[in-house]
Symmetry: C2
Subunit: 284 residues, 2 copies
Amino acid sequence: MKRVKLMVAYDGTNYCGWQVQPNGVSVAGMLNRHLSELLNEDIYVLGASRTDAGVHARGNVAVFDTAARMPADRISYALNARLPEDIRIQDSREVPPDFHPRFAKTRKTYEYKIWNRRFPEPCSRLYSLFYHWNLDVERMRRGAAYLVGTHDFTSFCTSKPEVTNRVRTIYSLEILAPEYDNQKSDLPVCSAQGEVMEHAGGRYENGVGMITVRICGNGFLYNMVRIIVGTLLKVGGGMMEPEEVQTILEAKDRSLAGDTAQAHGLTLVGIEYGQYESDKFNDK
Amino acid sequence: MKRVKLMVAYDGTNYCGWQVQPNGVSVAGMLNRHLSELLNEDIYVLGASRTDAGVHARGNVAVFDTAARMPADRISYALNARLPEDIRIQDSREVPPDFHPRFAKTRKTYEYKIWNRRFPEPCSRLYSLFYHWNLDVERMRRGAAYLVGTHDFTSFCTSKPEVTNRVRTIYSLEILAPEYDNQKSDLPVCSAQGEVMEHAGGRYENGVGMITVRICGNGFLYNMVRIIVGTLLKVGGGMMEPEEVQTILEAKDRSLAGDTAQAHGLTLVGIEYGQYESDKFNDK
């Protein structure tokens, strides 16, 4: 018997989420089915992060136990040959039998992408939130700064009765906006013949293009990243002051924060397991 | 009667290309159909770049003439409300009646994306070529340098009998590889508990992640960008020396260059119309 750890990437568009559901095709369900066929035994994977419907991953982690003789590092190749192309194992390796993807000390990184223009961009429509209104990146950065550190994030989660400890640590929360930071982009502009060339600040006449909210922490409560993003959108859009983020945090009241931003903008980038400081959470 | 110029973005995955075809749904066909319904007259758009099946665009350009009274800048909104979400007008405006998207002096920019890792990444599978073998970015850059400037690109196109002038000017040809250039990426790495943290150079144990071949020129022959990319893949993979690109260029022999890289990695980024030097091409 050995324990195998998978690093799993997926396009969440066509799944009901990570977790097996009675109705709907889940990522874990696909892995269970194809691993069971491949290894000829009943396999049930345990995932590090039970992402919601529509959320994507570049590096979710799952473990399972098997008596099969196939070397752990070959399972990635064999499994990828069976899986649909919207799920791809990036790595498979044997881990100690006591390795548990959810209880180990972890450092998780998520990215939430916001496409801020006058109109949506078709090739990023499935992987970013389209946001039409003007966003002030500096305000978003000032608001985000209040969230970094160790706090009770009750105001920034959808409550689950079994989760009583809502203290988490955010190591970093970056608002990446390359077009904004470069002032102008080097993207060419379509203009009528003879018109003065413009550059991308005015390319679609408003918006700063792609904004990536990149957040790294020791763990995240239910919907926490999406509620943080929904709140920063209010700050960036001028409906809330950056300083109010501090007030909301202290109030421990979900109703004060912004909406839960849509799932399809969110990607679980990766999970590190190591010597990071962390609590034992109560969210099983 | 007025002439309207559209800036059109699309995800080419589900189209047979720009051009109307007897069998298959084309981008131009979708525009003709929805513009005709919207403006209540028969509309036929003329596109600047007749992209192939599977090729994407952020800024293709199309023009059409209409007697409709709707202001040109409102057509983008009205048309987007009718189009499927994989086509989005980014801008609509009136242009002079003699504006012609293909004969005007232009500067076109294309990007070709290559995902260079051990395994594909699901969320970029439709917008980049998956290339499994190791690529040497420096070699690709050295090979690319021979193509910049004004040359006869006969070796780098699929010949069309009606195109007799195969001289084009490439203003720039960049090989963007941020992970390679940063030496290491700041992407977190999944490793078993207690393992030393790695960074992304070794994240999937090979590959340099996303490589973007960005090419800007006064015009491109049929399949030219894709054949250039196919050739640079040979150079990067060690099957061809960078200096051979010069030899191939001089030989004016298509059979010496690399394969035509797959369509889905290619995106037409944008077209500038202006005072750029350019020939009148013979490719109608």
